[in-house]
């Protein structure tokens, strides 16, 4: 630095550093202000877990009960998609993003609409689309609709609260055991001794609030079946809270249980005697009753009670100011069932149609009028509404010839029950105080927070509300937080605070080591909080929230923050060493280097600015990164020019002893070595330049080998398991599979914990809890996990472990065990991801052929056939696991082929057939019972013994609506069996089959992608082309990445994208149209 320049600087008056160094009291005030501003900003900033990404996906759901998937696809999905596509803000179709995506299931059409990324106000656009769809309601076919539009599809729940019923208490259990033992003894009285040894009592207990009339007919039917199969002396047991059978049977417990399950499956189509019932207990000796009951200990509260509790909690939480919405899932709706037998009904001259008239005649809510009495008005209210299922039995159905009444309970059986089959079941598995794992029914509540609020406050307010509720609700109800964002945010901020403290300590240590004096170290130590305070103040002003990205950015920035203060510190010391006064040195040093510091800062800021150019969800996710970084760097620049001189004045002193001269520096120590090296390099500059190119080249080569991923998997204490059953599975089969999955999970995690945590504290088990949702996905508890719609063949199991670092290590052994042990289901263990990718490797085949409607079915089948061929190629690679396509298998269905002539002659219309069959088999609503604030539907349905299995269809009678005719179904119809598609996916208007697979045990997905790509090229079958191959590599773990170099050599990935378009007009016998193809390389 030349002297002239120094002189010029010294003469400068408009120097910020000079001002701060000279007017120190003002500077202290400003320092205090900045610190205060920063603290306020930190406290006031909204804290969330994830950055707010405006939701641009809405869902449109249209039911059409009873219709098959193909018809729904043609008649409803296409219609709605065309209407939605009229909007011009839909996202254009892209390799990894869709505009309109749809799924047609039997009875349901689900469409997801995604808006363009440029749209700032999605709500308004969604409203416009909603209006258009409302107008379509009238154009839907008969029986379809209404169209339900849900623009809140993307809102993530801040808290997923699971409320589970505890198991029956010990005292209650003993009371039951006593009653049951007494009943068994009474029933066995009088039997010869020899027989007693072989008597087995099968007892099913129920919560005491459940009416036993619902269960008795089923048990009676079972008793008859037992008697027919050879069991001796079958007697029925009945008592408070239990029903059962006592019979002489041979075979061990396992065989009897298997027989019981087979009977339920095969004859009654149910899996339990009643949704609230316990598992059946097998009791041979009445003295063992308590033990037997303890094994099958059931839940204390029934589904109806849990529903009431959930309702109360939901209403209470809705009063908390920060809560915006509470959704419950897992509650099974109550119903009143009227079970009739066809013969019985016919013998009274009734038919199912007349039942609703009979009920509505009695269940009147028409007001009786109002009368003016004197000066007031008196309301007249005719009674008659029934509020209890027993009252329904007392309704007069018809009268005899002599005028005596026939009550409804004589004609059919009235039972309190639930929706059958249920739509969604929720279970919770936990460890009780004795360390025993318990599994019970549960209800989950998804609580959402208002936008831009403090999640910490949200957490405390919800806690307070729940604490108040705990005084009203039974105190043994189990509450658990399946997903707790306040906790996750607290964890994140905890991490940040720790990182900050560590950073400060490290800086001090390095400064001590580097500068070898405490003063510089203290100066640097103080500079960090001041810079951070200024940063917080700035970003709060801009409107950034404190979430994982901004916190991560601050942690990265910590390292860069100290840059400028170090330089400033060094400059001050240099000036001090040059003999200037403290005040002068304090501001002169930094001013000399002002330009250098500024450009260094600017360079750093600009290096991060390109993140602002990212578009889409990734862009929204990361938008805070460059902004926070820029603010931090700017703050550090400002601080180094303003407060560092101030503090430097007080802290820094000139060095003791003379500074080493240049000569000394050139010869001794590290600077000496560096001088020699530098001279060498300059002398042999050409060689050194070549060497540097070689290093760059090597670096590029090595860099390409690294496994890449845009974001690593999020390491959390929670992970989830998707269970996909066969397409036609009913909810009970899925529930059984989930029980098996949970057992495997418990076993594997326990084994892992025993093996790996020996030295640690083994008192706390690794597995904390399991929450499962059967028949659909959990409500959106993680922003990147899209919840599945209600689907009886799907279940989601959320697993929570105590140590978040164990999660990545558990995934592989769990996946292995689950795939090997659970038959009939595709089980995928998934970690939570920041950047959501549904499947690591997927191939999509879409049929862009314009076909006549007659060929539609054939077209779909050809598409599936091609998908199967692609799946074969995947399977041929040993690195692919769980290959499948997302359409699944075809499922057995029965079509009732009505002979129209015969039906007409018999006076039966097609509508009659449909009504008789659907109302008989599934039930038909005939009325509503109003109980306090609930509307409980009343359904009429065939008795369970007349619709237990498929063959009962031939015994069905059809009732004519226009006359009294009653004709057997076989007289006018025949049964046609077939296999039918269950799922039809469309992406951007065309049916698309996605064939996907998971890489085995952490391998590089690109390995088998590239290998299989060659097989996927246009083969001899000109119709098979590959489109849109997508893969997502594993997260890079640094040491492993190094070692996997040789393995990954085969994974060549060309960073550039290539495409080729090939269109073929070849018309082979299987191709009746042209198919376009293009291949895109693995997207990152």
């Amino acid at each position: 630095m030349s002297d002239a320049r120094t002189q010029a600087l010294m003469a400068e008056r408009n120097n910020v550093s000079r001002f701060f160094a000279e007017h120190r009291s003002v500077s202290f005030v400003l320092l205090a202000l900045v610190v205060f501003w920063g603290s306020y900003g930190y406290m006031a900033m909204p804290r969330l877990k994830d950055p707010v990404i405006p939701v641009r996906v809405a869902s449109v759901i249209t039911p059409w009960p009873g219709m098959n998937a193909e018809t729904i696809d043609r008649q409803i999905t296409r219609l709605l998609e065309t209407k939605i596509a009229e909007s011009d803000v839909i996202h254009p179709p892209e390799a990894t993003k869709y505009g309109i995506q749809s799924l047609s299931l039997p009875g349901l059409s689900i469409i997801q609409v995604q808006l363009d990324e440029e749209i700032d106000n999605p709500e308004r656009e969604f409203d416009a689309i909603n209006l258009k769809l409302d107008a379509l309601n009238d154009e839907l076919p008969e029986g379809a609709g209404p169209i339900q539009f849900n623009s809140g599809f993307g809102d993530t729940a801040a808290l997923l609260l699971t409320m589970a019923s505890p198991k029956e208490g010990e005292v209650q259990l003993e009371v039951r055991a006593r009653d049951i033992a007494a009943a068994i003894e009474t029933s066995r009285a009088g039997l010869p001794e020899a027989v007693l040894g072989q008597r087995v009592a099968i007892v099913v207990a129920l919560p005491r609030t459940v009416d036993l009339t619902a269960v008795r007919p089923v048990v009676a039917a079972f008793a008859q079946a037992l008697a027919r199969s050879g069991a001796g002396e079958v007697r029925q047991l009945l008592g408070p809270g239990f029903v059962g059978i006592d019979a002489t049977m041979d075979g061990d417990d396992a065989a009897i249980r298997a027989g019981l399950t087979a009977y339920m499956h095969g004859n009654l189509g149910e899996l339990r005697f009643h949704p609230d019932a316990w598992r059946a207990a097998l009791i041979r000796d009445p003295a063992d009753t308590l033990k037997a009951l303890q094994e099958v200990r059931g839940d204390k509260y029934s589904y109806a009670q849990l529903g009431d509790f959930a309702d109360l909690i939901s209403r209470t939480l809705a009063t908390v100011p920060l809560v915006s919405k509470v959704d419950t899932s897992g509650v099974i709706d109550q119903r009143v069932w009227l079970y009739y037998s066809q013969e019985q009904l016919a013998s009274y001259g009734l038919d199912p149609y007349s039942l609703s008239d009979v009920l509505s005649a009695r269940n009147t809510t028409i007001p009786g009028g109002m009368m003016d009495v004197g000066e007031s008005r008196v309301l007249l209210e005719p009674t008659g509404q029934f509020t209890d299922s027993a009252e329904i039995g007392g309704i007069i159905a018809t009268t005899n010839d002599d005028g005596s009444p026939v009550y409804l309970r004589d004609v059919l059986s009235v039972q309190d029950g639930y929706q059958s089959p249920p739509q969604l079941l929720n279970y919770y598995t936990w460890q009780d105080d004795n360390g025993v794992w318990q599994r019970s029914r549960a209800v989950s509540l998804a609580v959402q927070m208002r936008d831009n609020m403090q999640i910490g406050t949200f957490g405390t307010e919800v806690d307070a509300a729940l604490a108040e509720l705990s005084q009203i609700l039974p105190n043994d109800l189990i509450f658990a937080r399946s997903s707790d964002q306040p906790e996750q945010v607290a964890d994140n901020l905890d991490l940040f605070t720790r990182a900050l403290i560590e950073a400060v300590i490290l800086v001090v240590i390095i400064a001590l080591v580097g500068f070898w004096e405490w003063r510089s170290a203290v100066l640097l130590m103080l500079s960090i909080p001041i810079t951070l305070a200024m940063t917080f103040g700035m970003i709060d002003l801009i409107g950034i929230q404190l979430q994982q990205v901004s916190v991560a950015t601050l942690i990265i920035a910590l390292g860069l923050l100290v840059d400028d203060p170090v330089v400033a510190n060094d400059a001050i010391k240099r000036e001090l060493g040059a003999g200037r006064s403290r005040v002068l040195a304090a501001w002169l040093g930094p001013s000399k280097l002002a330009k250098a510091i500024m450009f260094a800062t600017v360079t750093n800021i600009v290096a991060y600015l390109p993140f602002l150019l990212l578009t889409g969800d990734q862009g929204d996710f990361l938008v805070s990164l460059p902004i926070v970084m820029a603010c931090a760097l700017l703050a550090s620049r400002l601080v180094s020019m303003s407060f560092i001189p101030l503090l430097g004045y007080y802290l820094l002193r000139p060095r003791n002893g003379p500074e080493p001269t240049m000569e000394e520096r050139r010869t001794r120590g590290f600077s000496g070595s560096y001088y020699r090296f530098g001279s060498f390099a300059i002398r042999h500059r050409k060689k050194v330049l070549l060497a540097s190119f070689a290093i760059i080249g090597a670096g590029v080569l090595i860099g390409n080998q690294l496994k890449t991923s845009f974001f690593p998997d999020d390491v959390q204490r929670m992970f989830y398991i998707d269970v996909w059953m066969d397409n036609g599975a009913n909810i009970m089969a899925t529930a059984e599979a989930v029980e098996q999955v949970e057992a495997v999970v418990r076993r594997v995690i326990d084994a892992y914990g025993a093996q790996n945590l020996q030295d640690d504290d083994t008192d706390t088990p690794l597995l904390e809890a399991i929450t499962s949702f059967v028949g659909g996905g959990a409500p959106r508890f993680w922003f990147s996990v899209t919840p599945q719609q209600n689907d009886p063949a799907y279940a989601q199991v959320l697993v929570r472990v105590a140590d978040k670092n164990a999660t990545p290590l558990l995934v592989a052994p769990l996946q292995q065990a689950l795939t090997a042990e659970v038959p009939g289901a595709f089980v995928d263990v998934r970690q939570l991801q920041t950047n959501p990718v549904d499947y690591p490797v997927a191939i999509r085949l879409f049929g862009r052929a314009t076909v006549a409607t007659e060929n539609q079915a054939e077209a779909l089948r050809t598409l599936i056939g091609l998908g199967n061929e692609a799946a074969e190629i995947f399977r041929s690679s040993p690195l692919a696991a769980r290959t499948r396509n997302n359409w699944g298998d075809e499922v057995f269905r029965v079509r009732i082929a009505i002979d129209n002539d015969r039906a007409n002659l018999a006076g039966i219309t097609n509508a009659d057939v449909a009504a008789s069959s659907s109302s008989g088999i599934s039930g038909q609503q005939v009325g509503t019972m109003l109980v306090s604030d609930k509307q409980i539907p009343i359904y009429a349905r065939l008795d369970i013994t007349q619709r237990g299995h498929l063959g009962d269809l031939s015994n069905l009678y059809v009732y004519a609506s226009g006359s009294d005719n009653r004709v057997p179904l076989t007289a006018i119809a025949s049964f046609d069996h077939g296999l039918e598609l269950q799922r039809i996916y469309r992406i951007d208007h065309f049916p698309t089959v996605t064939v996907f697979a998971f890489p085995v045990g952490g391998r590089c997905p690109r390995t088998f992608t590239s290998k299989s790509r060659t097989s996927l090229r246009p083969s001899s079958n000109p119709c098979l082309w590959v489109t849109r191959c997508r893969s997502r590599a594993n997260r890079p773990r640094w040491p492993v990445a190094l070692a996997s170099l040789p393995r990954c050599w085969a994974c060549r990935s060309w960073a550039s994208t290539w495409r080729w378009f090939c269109s073929s007009t070849a018309r082979s016998s299987r191709c009746w149209s042209s198919w376009r193809c293009h291949t895109v390389s693995s997207a990152r």
């Binding site: 008859q224 008697a227 095969g266 037998s341 013969e343 019985q344 016919a346 013998s347 070595s673 059953m725 066969d726 397409n727 036609g728 592989a812 292995q816 090997a820 042990e821 038959p823 009939g824 595709f826 089948r861 040993p878 499948r884 298998d889 075809e890 057995f892 029965v894 015969r902 002659l905 018999a906 006076g907 299995h949 498929l950 063959g951 269809l953 031939s954 015994n955 006359s963 005719n965 009653r966 004709v967 057997p968 076989t970 007289a971 006018i972 049964f975 069996h977 077939g978 296999l979 085995v1000 045990g1001 952490g1002 391998r1003 640094w1038 040491p1039 492993v1040 990445a1041 190094l1042 070692a1043 996997s1044």
Partner: protein
């Protein structure tokens, strides 16, 4: 310094050495079932109603007011009026109409008869006298004819009066309503004091020594039932009992509104357990030669490989070291319960996959789990 750098680099590489993830694709688990021995074809159930073999409405033939009903000893030992459910024998008097007026008719008829007989006697005497006189030619022909005519007319009057008396006697006897056959009283439609007239139904009697189960079959099933077949009848009110009956009639024409043909099955009912009006059900076997066929659960069917409308199942091929599955085309028959009959493709004893079809493909190695 150089050595140090090299050493550090080597250490870093070693640190990177990790055990090869020896993850392999686990073998897919499946559940199998052994095809049971053949199951019989399930018959179709019909619902029938029980009617009496003979049922008659016993009506009055005279009018009048009912004076008394049959007295029956009731359950409490006291006598009571006859009511529904009581058994009667042929000839039992069920009800009595007030006979007074009929008695008076009889008396009056008797009196008329007596009077006519007196006239007859007189006319006869006159006739004989006139005959004698005529023979002696003391009476004119006119007298002869007159006397003859009077005699004949008196004779006719007597006959008429006798007939009148008979009729009155009949009417008197009709005041007692008797049971025409053995049976059980189904309904009692009159009370003491009811005014009845001819055609008024007083009682409905049914002979329930045997009963008939009546049901309707569509024309497609007519071939499966013919007169003389034996069918088993069950009723929900008497569980665990099957009553055997014989088909006694098949209607020659169908009911015009339902197009069903009425079939009657006669069942003996000696102990009277089957009551008229009960709802019964019976099963009709479908067609001759409906033997057994192997069956599989309905959800074990998958789409066949070749035919887009064909069906197949996965058959387990046990091997020495590993089991594999083979996709086997089958032809399906009728649904029985929750299973479906297979008419060709597999045989009893084969093991087919019942759980896990969605996770396997033809030729894949599998592992059987319980």
């Amino acid at each position: 310094m150089r050595h140090l750098c090299l050493a550090l680099l080597a250490l870093a590489l070693l640190a990177g050495c990790d055990e090869e993830a020896t993850a392999t694709n686990p073998v897919t688990p499946v559940r199998v079932e052994i095809i049971a021995e053949t199951m019989p074809v399930e018959p179709v159930a019909y619902s029938a109603s029980i009617v009496a073999k003979t049922q008659v409405d016993v009506s009055f033939q005279v009018d009048g007011m009912i004076q008394s009903l049959r007295q029956v000893v009731g359950a409490d030992g006291l006598e009571r009026n006859i009511q529904q459910g009581d058994r009667v024998a042929e000839g039992d008097v069920l009800a009595t109409v007030d006979p007074e007026q009929y008695q008076d008719s009889v008396d009056s008829a008797q009196a008329s008869l007596a009077s006519a007989q007196a006239d007859l006697a007189n006319a006869r005497a006159n006739w004989e006298r006139t005959q004698n006189l005529y023979a002696e030619q003391s009476a004119t022909a006119t007298d002869y004819d007159n006397a003859k005519q009077q005699y004949e007319s008196a004779l006719a009057s007597v006959n008429s009066a006798a007939a009148q008396l008979d009729s009155s006697r009949d009417d008197l006897s009709y005041t007692d309503l008797t049971a025409p056959m053995d049976g059980v009283v189904l309904t009692v439609d009159v009370e003491v004091g009811t005014l009845v007239s001819p055609q008024t139904t007083g009682f409905v009697l049914a002979d329930t020594s045997s009963v008939k189960a009546v049901f309707g079959v569509p024309d497609t099933t007519l071939g499966d039932v013919s007169v003389g077949d034996t069918l088993g009848v069950t009723t929900a009110s008497i569980p665990d009992t099957t009553f055997d009956g014989i088909v006694t009639s098949v209607a020659p024409s169908a009911d015009s509104s339902t197009r069903l043909f009425q079939v009657e099955v006669t069942l003996p009912n000696p102990d009277g357990r089957l009551l008229v009006g009960m709802v019964a059900s019976l099963r009709l076997d479908q067609g001759p030669g409906a033997g057994g066929v192997p069956t599989v659960p309905v959800d074990a069917l998958v789409r066949g490989a070749g035919d887009p409308k064909g069906y197949a199942v996965f058959v387990l091929v046990p091997g020495a070291q590993d089991d594999t599955v083979r996709l086997t085309e089958v032809a399906i028959g009728q649904v029985l319960g929750n299973r479906i009959a297979i008419t060709s493709g597999i045989a009893a004893g084969d093991r087919i996959v019942t759980v896990g079809m969605n996770t396997i493909v033809d030729g894949q190695q599998v592992r059987v789990v319980p």
